[in-house]
Symmetry: D3
Subunit: 139 residues, 6 copies
């Protein structure tokens, strides 16, 4: 069993703001992250796939195909976007890394079988800054 | 003559959008960076001060004081902000790194004498992403 | 279940020296790390908390509160300090990363409930240099 | 139980080319990585050993000895080499990271008992580029 | 006057080998870098352009156009290639970073006017490894 | 004219303490950096040599020889040492980066002719932390 990983990045605006709460409560909960006019980040996303290598290629998954899949299904929908306003799969959700990573898992997990018969999605790691990140293993 | 540098960072939203041009022309010029609802970055700012050390301290400038100055006069005004909407000194200007770095120079150059008698502002480097950055030497 | 992580750093002096052994044996075991007059490092500490997000905030733990806690309970006691001489919770222990990380776990694990009802301490990673690090999962 | 890690690096040439397939099929499978005249990388290898610390030294494994072992048994055989042509333990195998990491595991796992009675090989991580890497846990 | 920079990367094989010298002299001069069957690197290339911003765009040079130009004229000719065997503009030259950077300068300097009327090529920096790099200012 | 650079690193303890001043004045000037029992850093040192390449080797300076020289004349004297107590060339001087870089320049400038007829010392950059560094050009 091998674990292969690919890192992609995207730049996006967001704010942490729960619309069911008052403005005061949002500022209390989220501080400067609740800034009404948004702020933003260079996000890094690491996608890890596990499995046994294909004997013909030595690949668990072709990392070029994995990169293309991540870009088509995830990055193109969030890069240079506003996570609160522009992203279909985040509509109605708090634009936090915790919620974003769960949605990215759902998307990649659905599409991964189109590029590999040997690999399964193992984990995602999403960096909001070099010092803050979140990981998800699908459960 | 020694050159001492301090790196600070901030997270901000912006869009590249020239309001004197049509939406179509903006998209043509700036591509996804013109996204109406903004995007954002983790910016890194490196401030370099040059001079001869103070014999008592060995410092051209005390880097703790330099850090405090940069935070008070620059970072606090742009961190977790929208560069197009929230920043007084960027009002009426295209929110590009090129314009931002010139304004940051103006501010730091004015305040630097309050913390050092020996150092002069030498250069600024502003990273928008790890692969794109701009530098300014004040002229 | 989500895993959220925060990286903090500190600068400290230490030496690897077991006072119950001879100087010769210490040099044999620890080489230049046993240098009588100490050496030092820029340490990086990554703290990972796991749990289910709070529905109101989307947070497993508020990373700002986590950062404040790590600084108050750990960093302030070891930053710009001598790990052999200045740190109460290291007294009588070899000032190795292996011992330090176990003590940091004990402290953070005790204080974490004061800032989150949803998260538990999952792991610590302590970098002594970019090429040497140690991890601990509490058992 | 503690996990200690050491990072080493090496520079090597390789190509992804399965000699039992046609040139066309290789290009189809591996794209530019199949370039007949090779290409190359700065590889990073992270070796993680787990165990309980030795009471005398506080070490699971002496990282200096681990570094020396990795260099003698692995790095010296692949650094500034061609992975397809110059490396005995890769002969007859596709020169992929997936195959390379399994061979490195075999070698280090065999030699680790010569430098530690307390530590066992836990995992390897092999970076081909800062954005592509593979991990192996020995099973 | 502003200085804007863009970082690109490529992976290539090479060896340091002067064909007008004996094999023994090559090994004496270049050590493991002379390995007959090549080795390789992940190279990073930083291109810096200086000039005054265009009033309409705020750009000295559009970094997207600069990236496209670098990729079309330089990266596509050296990425996943053997610098000694596959690269027209390196033929007959020692495949060192020093020679490569001078050739890259010649190419980019010739093509830069096609994408900017305001910017001139200021400098190139070429990393062979994170610890070894060379810079060139065109003279 | 080409500029070639080599990065080396060392780990050392130091304190910023001017013995001609009172303890109170030292704490006032240097804050936690004046901690009586020292603290420490992982320092990075970048050495840049400029010149025209040797036609036989393509080198301004052989970076392996440069690395060996830096280690023999500088790193071996400060790595795993106390900059205030253990280093001959720092005796009687405040153990600041500003003073250290001037001493390193003096040493390397004296020894560089032993390894290159084509290169001259151009600059040094000394990182105390990833966010604080000092540069020196020899005048």
């Amino acid at each position: 069993m091998l674990y292969v990983s690919r890192k992609e990045h995207f730049n996006a605006a967001h704010k942490l703001y729960n619309p069911s709460l008052s403005k005061e409560r949002n500022v209390e909960l989220f501080g400067p992250c609740a800034n009404e006019n948004w702020h933003g980040h260079n996000f890094d996303l690491i996608v890890t796939v596990k499995g046994n290598p294909d004997p013909e290629t030595g690949f668990v998954v072709d990392l070029k195909k994995l990169s293309t899949l991540i870009r088509a299904e995830v990055i193109d929908k969030i890069d240079h976007k506003n996570l609160n306003m522009d992203v279909d799969f985040m509509r109605g959700k708090l634009a936090s890394c915790e919620n974003l990573i769960v949605e990215i898992w759902r998307i990649l997990n659905e599409h991964l079988p189109t590029i590999t018969a040997h690999g399964k999605l193992h984990s995602l790691r999403l960096y909001e800054t070099p010092r803050n990140y979140v990981e998800y293993y699908g459960e």
